[in-house]
Symmetry: C2
Subunit: 135 residues, 2 copies
Amino acid sequence: MTSTDPTPRPAVRPTRQRRAVAAALAGFDDFRSAQEIHDLISRQGESVGLATVYRTLATLADAGEVDMLRNEDGEAIWRSCSDTHHHHLVCRTCGATVEVEGPAVERWTSAIATEHGYGDISHTLEIFGTCPACR
Amino acid sequence: MTSTDPTPRPAVRPTRQRRAVAAALAGFDDFRSAQEIHDLISRQGESVGLATVYRTLATLADAGEVDMLRNEDGEAIWRSCSDTHHHHLVCRTCGATVEVEGPAVERWTSAIATEHGYGDISHTLEIFGTCPACR
DNA sequence: AACATCGTGAGAATCGTTCTCATGTCGTCC
DNA sequence: GGACGACATGAGAACGATTCTCACGATGTT
Ligand SMILES: [Mn+2]
Ligand SMILES: [Mn+2]
Ligand SMILES: [Zn+2]
Ligand SMILES: [Zn+2]
């Protein structure tokens, strides 16, 4: 009783621009803004419109291939990530990022939510600090 | 060996505008944007400039009297809060908010940070869901 | 009352992000 | 390989939240 493909997605075409964004993402470990990523690409000689960078990042984020979070100024920052649920420990100074997991925290959030009658839960959790290299 | 006042703050003057913002904040429990708060004030017959609303909210946030967080669109939203460290369980539909505390989570975040050599830690944690009234 | 300082507001300016739409590219079927 | 419909791109305009400017008002202190 295997169900048929439930989502006949329009199919994402492999374009030069998308490859450029993917390549840029592969080149750093910390979180970068769309504009920084756009600059990185330009500096590598390629040309990709800023709007396309935004569109591509949004697509990748939907697909769960990149994480997007907001810095203290509210700007969206992005980086490629593993495909499992996780959170981040981010250096406030240099941006160095560690992916962290915490089953206990996951359990706690859903317990709290249930306790108050909330359903359909999601959560955001980011830890900021100063990394060993920046102390 | 009591030290002298380390911070001779300029003293915040009690103005009509600041009272209006405080009164507006007292009128709701959920998170609202600066513009919504500005509208609330106007609707109550008073007139306070939008820039002043922003300035007052920022001051109150610095003083720890209001919480500011960002919704999924990155907009800053605000509400008055208790003076102890806490997090929020927010209804995605109506905004109903519950303040929650979790000593275990606090311990976990600092443990994780220490484990990776990070210092001077802070963190953000928000839980979103659908409240009982909205299910 | 006079003065120094702080607060306010209207509108301009910022700036990240999204939208428009004419044009380019991809995949597919002949 | 040419034709075609769908998807993708980019330049610039448009948007929208937030901040800045600066002339003017309010506060509190002597
Ligand atoms: Mn989690
Ligand atoms: Mn906490
Ligand atoms: Zn660092
Ligand atoms: Zn609700």
